[in-house]
């Protein structure tokens, strides 16, 4: 992105103050979202999401593993984000590492709930095969292909779509395994368990420019932000996670106002995403 001149900066800030952004959107309107599922046939589930010029791909792979001693009846989920150099030349080699680490941590905080496992978007107990011995490990890998602002929202949407596309194979445990023996498992080739993604939250990033907040900022608008907050809201209107994304300090009453705006916007976004995901799956089946 080329630097902005002073005139362009004033244009962006003034437009937002008048509820008219550079691409004719209102402050709380998202760019058109395009979802495609099943883009990676070798993965258990995958999806590609495009929001304007921001494009991300998420893939879910399931492998058998051993549960932790703290939670023997739950599976494990790990989320990784990789910023590809195709998105920006600065991401080559180790350049994108800091951004990837930040995005991975924010996604883990939003989707995996507290340490005890409560409030997680994904039901981890459905991933357990043999309690204490075998469980499914889900590896969610996301790739940022092109960036034009609002990466976190796009990644959250892609993960939601990929999880609804995920099929976990059926596992048959050989009966008669006793004590500390590792039971024999037979993984069937027919997909069996489809994920219940109604509990998976969506992530809304509110960017403050001047005195107003906008949703789904482009890269230009993000360069003018004074601060931003990413809120993860689930279908029932409960907050599942929140991070402030740097910048100037915010008054606590402003933060609480941003949370209520995020909840309002999330209702429409969840409806829109669900319809896009079911349309994508219908297209995939043809």
């Amino acid at each position: 992105m080329v630097g902005l001149s002073l005139g362009e900066k004033h244009f962006i800030q003034g437009g937002i103050a008048q509820d008219l952004r550079s691409d004719a959107r209102k402050r709380l309107t998202y760019r058109p979202i395009y979802v495609e599922t099943g883009v990676i046939p070798q993965a258990n589930g995958s999806a590609a999401v495009k929001m304007g010029a921001t494009e991300v791909i998420a893939s879910v792979k399931a492998e058998l593993g051993k549960p932790t001693s703290l939670h023997p009846d739950k599976g494990k989920v790990a989320i990784f984000v990789d910023c590809s150099p195709t998105a920006a030349p600065a991401f080559e080699g180790r350049g994108g590492e800091e951004l990837s680490a930040e995005l991975s941590t924010s996604l883990q905080q939003c989707l995996l709930g507290g340490k005890s496992g409560a409030g997680a978007g994904i039901d981890l107990s459905s991933l357990s095969v043999v309690e204490g011995k075998i469980c499914w490990d889900l590896y969610i890998d996301c790739l940022v292909v092109s960036t034009d602002g609002n990466l976190l929202d796009a990644l959250g949407a892609a993960i939601k779509a990929a999880l609804s596309n995920t099929g976990i194979p059926r596992v048959q445990v050989a009966a008669g395994a006793t004590g500390d023996e590792q039971p024999e498992v037979d993984i069937s080739d027919e997909e069996f368990l489809q994920f219940d993604t109604s509990g998976v939250p969506v992530i809304i990033t509110l960017t403050q420019v001047g005195k107003h907040y906008i949703v789904d900022a482009t890269a230009e608008e993000e360069s003018q932000m004074s601060s931003a907050i990413s809120v993860s809201v689930n279908r029932h209107g409960r907050i599942c996670g929140m991070t402030k994304r740097g910048g100037a300090g915010l008054d606590p009453s402003v933060i609480l106002d941003m949370i209520s705006v995020a909840k309002f916007v999330s209702e429409q976004l969840i409806i829109k995403l669900d319809s896009e995901i079911s349309a994508a799956e219908a297209r995939e089946e043809e």
Partner: protein, 257 residues
């Protein structure tokens, strides 16, 4: 070794079995009147021990002890930015948080908190007047000597004290407190055992006298009234912590005269 007077048997050392691990579940979330393992009330923070000038080679430094969490922070700068970095007419802040290998009961366990450095950066950048040192970089290095729970808030508060000791211009001291949600209870300044079985957490970093929040992180599922309550709790605690930090700085300034 000098034995006790008159004793014939040599004194030998054998680890006493009572020092072995305490029973694991000290926390019963559904029990209505459980007491916190260290006897504090739900809304009591640990007593804070703060000292500046811990590292004489650094421009500024601070040491903080909150119960079992011990952190030391050094600040170097403002010094010349690396030649490879672009010209910038505001200063740069570089933060690094690392755990010692003996910080956790299991050796090397805490080294997967790479995001602490970026959270520390975001918490401090809103408070430092970067325009006062253009073209230069201020380095903040934090070392967690013992991880006893609520590490990141202690690191942030200690780092802000070290920056003040180094004479870096700031809008206000940054104080940080976290709250854990255990069942229906909100527990402030959690220790390690409480953090491991929490349902959710809320960490706030704020500049108390300006009433500005520089960093806020929430995990777990929260309803909006609960967030209000937790934020209010944390902001009150931050204000009191800021008073403690301020008196620590005043003491060290007056003892230098």
């Amino acid at each position: 070794m000098s034995g006790k007077g008159g004793s014939a048997t040599p004194t030998t050392y054998s680890p006493s079995p009572q020092n072995q691990k305490k029973p694991k579940s000290l926390i019963f979330k559904d029990d209505v009147d459980w007491v916190r393992p260290d006897g504090r009330g739900f809304q009591h923070c640990r007593p804070a021990f703060l000292r500046t000038g811990a590292v004489s080679a650094a421009s500024g430094s601070a040491y903080a002890e909150f119960g079992n969490t011990k952190v030391i922070v050094s600040v170097f700068g403002p010094r010349e930015s690396k030649k490879s970095q672009m010209y910038s007419d505001i200063g740069r802040l570089n933060c690094n948080v690392s755990n010692t290998t003996f910080a956790t009961p299991v050796r090397g366990q805490g080294s997967d908190h790479k995001e602490f450095s970026s959270v520390l950066h975001k918490a401090l950048e809103g408070a430092i007047i970067l325009e006062s040192f253009p073209k230069t970089t201020v380095d903040v290095f934090a070392l967690v000597l013992e991880s006893g729970g609520s590490d990141l808030p202690v690191v942030i508060s200690c780092a802000s004290l070290a920056l003040a000791d180094a004479g870096i211009r700031m809008y206000d001291l940054v104080a940080s407190v976290s709250v854990s949600c255990l069942g229906k209870n909100l527990v402030i300044d959690p220790i390690f055992e409480e953090e491991n079985c929490r349902d959710g957490s809320l960490m706030i970093t704020c500049m108390a006298s300006r009433n500005e929040v520089t960093q806020l992180t929430i995990t777990g599922e929260w309803s909006t009234p609960k967030i209000h309550e937790a934020m209010q709790l944390c902001l009150d605690a931050c204000m009191k912590l800021r008073m403690v930090m301020r008196s620590c700085l005043k003491d060290s300034a007056s003892s230098q005269e």
